[in-house]
Amino acid sequence: MTPRLTRRRFIKSVIFSGAALSSGAGFYLASAQTRPSGGVERLVSLSINGRTRRVDVMPQETLAHTLRYKLGLTGTKIGCNRGECGSCTVTINDVTHYACSTLTHSVKGKEVVTVEGLRAADGTLHAVQQAFIDELSPQCGFCTPGQIMSAVALLKTNPRPTRDEARQALSGNLCRCGAYDHYLNGVMRASGQLS
C-alpha cells in the first residue's frame, strides 16, 4: 500500500478486493466477507439520482454505506449512524429516510435521490440549494445535505409551507451549529415566501 493512498480510497479498494493486510481496516473487512449467505442476490440494480447503478451489496449493508463507499456519493453524510441526527437523509420515492438506517436491498425498484441528484443537467442548483446559499443557512455545513433533502421532500408535497410546517418537516435533522432558523429562512425563500 502506498502512503499516498487516502483513507477513503483505501476503504473502497478493501471492499472491492475483499482483502487487506492492515488490521486498521478490520471491521470493513469483516463485513466485506464473501461467504455465501441465504436469501437475496448480492448483485443488484439500483436507481440512484435517475441512473441505474449495478452494485454488489452485502445483505446487511446500509444505503449510507453503499452510497458513500461503493458509489462515491459522499454528499450523504454519516453523523451518528443510529437514526439520531438526520445527516444521512435521502429520499426514497420522494419520502425522506435515514440512509444509515435503511437496508440497501430494501430500495430495489425504488427511486433514491441524494443531494448530488438535485441540480439540473446544466448545473443550475435546485431552488432549495440556491435559497440555502442566499440565506447563508449552513454554518459548518455538515448537516446541510440532510436539511436540503428534507426541505426538498417537503416542498414536493407542500409547495408553500408555513414556517411551522417547515419546522416540523425539518425536525428530524439535527444541526450541531444551531442554524435552524437560517434553514427555515431558506425554506421560506425557496418556496417564494421571502424575497
Binding site: F27, Y28, A30, S31, Q33, R35, S37, G38, G39, V40, M58, P59, Q60, E61, T62, H65, I78, N81, R82, G83, E84, G86, T89, V95, T96, H97, Y98, C100, S101, T102, L103, H105, S106, S150, Q168, A169, S171, G172
Partner: protein, 329 residues
C-alpha cells in the same frame, strides 16, 4: 463496549407472500429476526448486542399494509408505517387518539420507515441493557438500573420484578385505551389477543415485552367501533420533542352523555413495563362531568401505590398532572 458502523454478515430474506414469511419465521425460529422499518433493529445489531443470523424483511408483503374498514371497526395492517397511521383519514377522523400517538414517535424520517408492528414489538430502552450488559433482561442475574448509583430517571415506578425498564412505545397506550386486538399469525394458525394482554411485564417474561413467540408474526391490529369518535386526550412528556422517549405519556378515551362521563379508558405509558390502565381513576370519574371538580376529586389517585426508584419520583406528580390535564382540557 465498542460501537460499530457496519452490521456483521447475516442472511437476508425478502418474502413477498405472507405464507413464505411465516414459513421462514418458523424455520429460522430464534436464529431469525423480523424487520419492519428496522429502526429499532439496526442499532442492536450494529452494537453487536443482539446477533440474529438472518433478517426477514417483511416490507415486500403488500397485504400487510394499509387501513381497511371491517364490520366492527377498522383493521390496520401491521406493516403500515407510523406516518400512514398518523395521517390516514379514517384514523384521524375516528381514532384521533392513535394518529396523535403515532405522530409524536421519534422523528419524521423514523415515522416514514417505522411500522406499527415494530413500534409495538420494540424492545425496552434501558441504556444498561442496550449497551450489552448482562442484566436480568439479557439473561444475567442483576439489574444495573436498580442500584444506589444507577441512572434510573426514566425507569419504572410500578410493577417492577427484577427488571425496572418501561414500555417505550408511544402507540401502545393509545391502542390499549382503544381496546385494540392484535392479530398474531404463524404456520399453525392465527390467534387474536387483546392489546392489554399483548404486552407482558418481567414477572411474566423478563426477556420479551410482548406475548409474541418465535415463528409468530403480528399481521394486523383491529380497533373496535366502540371508541370511534369518542372524546380523546393524548399527551407525551419527554425531555425534547424529537427522537425522545416518553417520561410519562397518557392516552384517554371517554364517552360523555348528558354532561357526564359514562365510560372511560385511561392508560399511561412509560411508568411500568406495560401500558398501565388507570382503573381506579376510571371508576372514580364514572358518572361525573369532565371538569375541574372531578379532577380535584381524583387528584393523586393515578400515582397511588407507585414505588419510585432513586431518580424517578417526579413521575408520580407528572402522572397525576396529566390526569388533571386530561379531565380539564
Amino acid at each position: 463496549m465498542p460501537a460499530f458502523d457496519n452490521m456483521p454478515d447475516m442472511e437476508l430474506y425478502q418474502p413477498v407472500q405472507i405464507d413464505d414469511a411465516l414459513a421462514l419465521a418458523a424455520r429460522l425460529a430464534e436464529r431469525g429476526w423480523l424487520v419492519g422499518g428496522g429502526q429499532d433493529t439496526y442499532g442492536w445489531i450494529k452494537d453487536r448486542n443482539k446477533r440474529p443470523e438472518a433478517l426477514i424483511d417483511l416490507n415486500g408483503i403488500e397485504s400487510l399494509r394499509g387501513v381497511r374498514e371491517t364490520e366492527n371497526g377498522i383493521e390496520i395492517g401491521a406493516l403500515t408505517t407510523l406516518t400512514e397511521v398518523a395521517t390516514n383519514p379514517i384514523i384521524t377522523q375516528r381514532y384521533a387518539l392513535l394518529s396523535k400517538a403515532a405522530s409524536v414517535v421519534a422523528s419524521p424520517q423514523i415515522r416514514n420507515a417505522g411500522t406499527l408492528a415494530g413500534n409495538l414489538a420494540q424492545d425496552v430502552r434501558c441504556w444498561y441493557y442496550r449497551r450489552g450488559l448482562d442484566c436480568y433482561r439479557a439473561g444475567g442475574n442483576l439489574c444495573y438500573a436498580d442500584t444506589p448509583e444507577a441512572q434510573n430517571r426514566e425507569h419504572a415506578i410500578f410493577n417492577a420484578s427484577r427488571c425496572v425498564a418501561v414500555t417505550p412505545s408511544d402507540t401502545a397506550p393509545a391502542l390499549v385505551a382503544l381496546e385494540a386486538q392484535m392479530v398474531i399469525t404463524s404456520t399453525s394458525g392465527q390467534r387474536v389477543v387483546a392489546a392489554e394482554d399483548f404486552f407482558v411485564g418481567p414477572d411474566v417474561n423478563i426477556e420479551s415485552t410482548t406475548v409474541l413467540r418465535d415463528g409468530e408474526i403480528l399481521t394486523a391490529v383491529r380497533i373496535p367501533a366502540k371508541w370511534a369518535n369518542a372524546e380523546f386526550y393524548y399527551e407525551k412528556v419527554a425531555d425534547r420533542n424529537v427522537w425522545d422517549f416518553a417520561l410519562v405519556s397518557i392516552a384517554g378515551a371517554m364517552r360523555i352523555e348528558g354532561g357526564n362521563i359514562v365510560e372511560s379508558s385511561l392508560v399511561c405509558g412509560a411508568v411500568q413495563c406495560t401500558p398501565r390502565r388507570l382503573t381506579s381513576v376510571e371508576r372514580a370519574i364514572q358518572g361525573r362531568p369532565r371538569n375541574e371538580a372531578t379532577a380535584t376529586m381524583v387528584a393523586g389517585m393515578a400515582s397511588q401505590g407507585a414505588r419510585p426508584l432513586n431518580q424517578n419520583a417526579f413521575k408520580m406528580p407528572l402522572m397525576d398532572n396529566l390526569v388533571t390535564k386530561l379531565l380539564t382540557a
